[in-house]
Symmetry: D2
Subunit: 353 residues, 4 copies
Amino acid sequence: MFHFECDYASGAAPQVLRALAQANESQHFGYGEDEHCRAAAELIGRLCAAQVGVHFVPGGTQANLLVAAAALRPFEGVLCADTGHINVHETGAVEATGHKVLALPSVDGRLTADQIRQAAQRHRLDSTREHTVRPGLVYLSHPTELGTLYTHAQLEDISQACREANLLLYVDGARLAYGLAALPEVDLPFLARICDAFTLGGTKAGLLFGEAVVLPHLALSRDFRYHMKQRGAMLAKGWLMGLQFRALLEDGAYVSLAARANAMAQDLKRALVGRGVPFLVDTMANQIFPILPRSVLDALEPSFSVSVWEAVDDQRAAVRVCMSSTTSPSEAEALSAALMRALDGISVKNFAL
Amino acid sequence: MFHFECDYASGAAPQVLRALAQANESQHFGYGEDEHCRAAAELIGRLCAAQVGVHFVPGGTQANLLVAAAALRPFEGVLCADTGHINVHETGAVEATGHKVLALPSVDGRLTADQIRQAAQRHRLDSTREHTVRPGLVYLSHPTELGTLYTHAQLEDISQACREANLLLYVDGARLAYGLAALPEVDLPFLARICDAFTLGGTKAGLLFGEAVVLPHLALSRDFRYHMKQRGAMLAKGWLMGLQFRALLEDGAYVSLAARANAMAQDLKRALVGRGVPFLVDTMANQIFPILPRSVLDALEPSFSVSVWEAVDDQRAAVRVCMSSTTSPSEAEALSAALMRALDGISVKNFAL
Amino acid sequence: MFHFECDYASGAAPQVLRALAQANESQHFGYGEDEHCRAAAELIGRLCAAQVGVHFVPGGTQANLLVAAAALRPFEGVLCADTGHINVHETGAVEATGHKVLALPSVDGRLTADQIRQAAQRHRLDSTREHTVRPGLVYLSHPTELGTLYTHAQLEDISQACREANLLLYVDGARLAYGLAALPEVDLPFLARICDAFTLGGTKAGLLFGEAVVLPHLALSRDFRYHMKQRGAMLAKGWLMGLQFRALLEDGAYVSLAARANAMAQDLKRALVGRGVPFLVDTMANQIFPILPRSVLDALEPSFSVSVWEAVDDQRAAVRVCMSSTTSPSEAEALSAALMRALDGISVKNFAL
Amino acid sequence: MFHFECDYASGAAPQVLRALAQANESQHFGYGEDEHCRAAAELIGRLCAAQVGVHFVPGGTQANLLVAAAALRPFEGVLCADTGHINVHETGAVEATGHKVLALPSVDGRLTADQIRQAAQRHRLDSTREHTVRPGLVYLSHPTELGTLYTHAQLEDISQACREANLLLYVDGARLAYGLAALPEVDLPFLARICDAFTLGGTKAGLLFGEAVVLPHLALSRDFRYHMKQRGAMLAKGWLMGLQFRALLEDGAYVSLAARANAMAQDLKRALVGRGVPFLVDTMANQIFPILPRSVLDALEPSFSVSVWEAVDDQRAAVRVCMSSTTSPSEAEALSAALMRALDGISVKNFAL
């Protein structure tokens, strides 16, 4: 079975495992206060060209709930797209910290600066605003859950909207590696300038596990370790995460592996477009969302797993196909060949959306 | 620097790393729904000789807060020893789920069945009990935070007290490997019979990370994965934990490595007793708490790190020395030799407590 | 200034104040364990023709958050209309108990049974449902925040949908008095049969303050007082609320005063319709939502306060006008006369929506 | 039955009820934004001789949980005496906001400045402090739950300790009226100077209900109404509380009624001491804690209710006897006479503690 349903089906990139095998010979201070975490944090700071707090946590949901808990007062909430991961796929993790998620409608996974401005103004002008949740934080994901990317200009505008309205800005970068590779204009120094917090995802980018929470807003960082411990996000052997990030960041593999995944995804997209396959949404990075006939999905099923995103009609479904930093070219080619074979007997005209 | 201040300073046992290197070649289903987690869960069930729910989470604080969240209604609290990890060293993680920790005094880390009976009765007989937190769960650690062990009879009595009072019983087994090795009368089938929930610790027992939450009370298990996801404890690559537990449990290394650590700790204890060194508390497993002169600690400091537990007087401090599943005999010998050297010039009579 | 912007601008109905003056001479047991609370609870049980738990709390937000806290497990959420009070006007009170509010779109304040069925099914069929909040409770208000009412058949169907999907059903009856008066087919025995919990509002129905939480689902009632105390909703002099409910329920004034308010509101509605005034939504009870020109609102402003609900265009706004159990006929007439005067010079044709 | 078991068994002082009857004729803006609340807040500010935020909430538990929620970051806790109301009699209300109550041992209900200094220092010096709850707020009650009072010097020292350690200071004044009357050196201007927050209790001091939360720390006050609404503590007819406080504060009855209660309690204490009755604790205000033989309690039971505080031995129990602002002299005399009669046949020598 080849897994393309997500970008975390494989283990780690080889350099991660090598580093781990080597470090396993030594002992380390606990709870992220070791040389690997320190070195990885410094490296991230250098890549951001900014003074930033850096903390490593095992998973993305933890990162998200920690930032919400650290950034908000009890009566404040988080503005996000209704497709946002915190709104739909974290079992109410943010609400479990006591904060409402204030979802705004989105068609392609992105929020707009105008939506943020309007939401802030709606609250400010509401004479009963004390009866409503005050927006305190804006949550974006880049790339989004639909694989789309924000442009430099869009993010700049969003950042401006947040500052005007006294909102903190948090970018969930679970797939940031793919974003950095696909759209270099949104780079780490830019994110460090416009965000109060963002994550540099590891789990989906060649690590076994681990997300780096990067906090350009230094006041958020000061007591962040208390929050981490309280929410069970401070790993005893925290060095495991510092070590892994070092392994991929030091030689640039963090982005170059993602770039390879993006290229494989985009190659496949082009091949499908060539066959007349429509897409749910147009994407630039490692995730693509073709709309495929059930018969094609049935043909794939014994050997390839993809993720059914939503039924389009009785005959067809939009599926998510992910390439990842650990997908090998031969795996990608096997999927592409299987898809082309399955599509062979099928007339293009069936695909009009 | 040799680390003896805790039992999580080293990486993983060699068989864990070998399994990891091998599994890294394959792909796996996400979120703990893979073959390794399934196999590890089945293996734990067999070792418990019982039908149990098994879930793998990255850390011990997560395990503790998850069990509290899953077991309690909002107005219920957790009875525990005042030395209990949840009461002192988890930054209020249980309170952050909304539940009060109801600490009872303990001198050696252990609760007694009588304390539980009295606390339950105090609540039951209180005519204003609706104004007080109702005990709902009893938390023990075995071994305790002070390295002590409960006997089979003590645990049987505690379990009886819990059932009489309609309290759930949870045993934090972060160091259970050492307990199993040191006191075989408290084995997994026994724990599965008397507990509603317990953990089988991995982080301190030869894994890179991971705790198995074992739920003999099957109703607790049914929706446990929702709780895990909500609290950020469901690792995307959950197979990493199933794999590691398999690696140590399948060939018995989980207990045999712990037994070696216990033996090294007890050897060192005997050597120190031979020099007249007093102990804060008497222990049977991998942690020992000698009371040492500051001069001895100073002599160790450049090469060996131990954990200062509490100052006994101006001259002396009780320290914690841990051997772990990944401590090698040569490391233990190096520490022992250094300690004996440092004690050489010091008269026994200084040590009277 | 005459207040029509809400139904809680006046004090209590005269019989409430008389009862209070009389009871003030005596002493009472605290925390709702007195004869007045007991008698009021029994009376409510008789009116419901059912065995129900009854608890008195000072305010409606408390009632709502208490039912959520008592009814739900941590990872469960509350389905409600997006216009629902808990979703928009309680500053995230439900989220502050850790639970997500799962808002569904509504145009007139009502949920439908089909929406509930679809939401339940969507969760049940979702293979990643453990990553999403599980619906556990359905929240309705009757009358709704927009003054509309559910029919007997609609509520029966909703109740059926809830039972099929293992959801509890809660009706927020902050304005239930007006609903009972306007639509007798939805009476207390019916509500006691179809709901797990509902409130009988006092604050908006002639009491100084106080809501009765009625719990036909007796298991919810058993420990409800613990929840009340924990959330600060157990008033020391709880007898104040039992006394007030008795005063209005014993002689039927609870419903008859509401019926008078409904009649005054409906009279005013007819008069406005006669002048060609359009309405935001058609209502049967004590709240009406006429769409009025700014000039009319300006004319009212010095002497009458109404609530601007939403701007319809530059010239006009929908406003809420409330009659309440404590509005006197002369006050209602004064408003009606003022409105007619203000509308006199204005051509009907301006009002086409 | 005469109630002396608590100080909230009676209704309101006559002037409160008169004011209520009069105000009931008018209409008022909702949610505490009315003239009575404004006037009461200004009056309290004048009495404090300071700029303070003032908010009215129905009950004391609400006041306590609101101050904790407003004052603390998620990982911070509240230092208090182990006898503190928040620690023992609020069903974990503070923990339900996510914060640990850090109880310190007390024999007479009071904390000391030294305890606070030590607790703060213990945290500051702990190298693993991120694994522990950080003290953020100190909670005292004045008078305490045992009826004792802090001296001016003690409170000054505690305030100093809090400022040194960057802790906020909160005084629960549920019975502050009795404290102000018994010990004028601790007056409102002093409290406004040394505290960040305190309450001026109404429920136990002649109001039907209501506590004034006074916030000399103005930053705490700015968003306090959001917290109030979120926790269900913002009463729709908030004017009821402003009105009642005005009624007692404007003419000084708030303190003079309390002074009368104190005098009646102290008279009774002297009479009991004259009979050789020992006391659990010595008090100066409206609560006394005599240790009485069961036979005396049995004799009282048909006509007088007192509160059994704790059993001293098989024969005797410490009981709490409360006089309140609404206790009439004749009620106090009736109790005194009954007690003297019951003690008549009993030899003094039985009472040696």
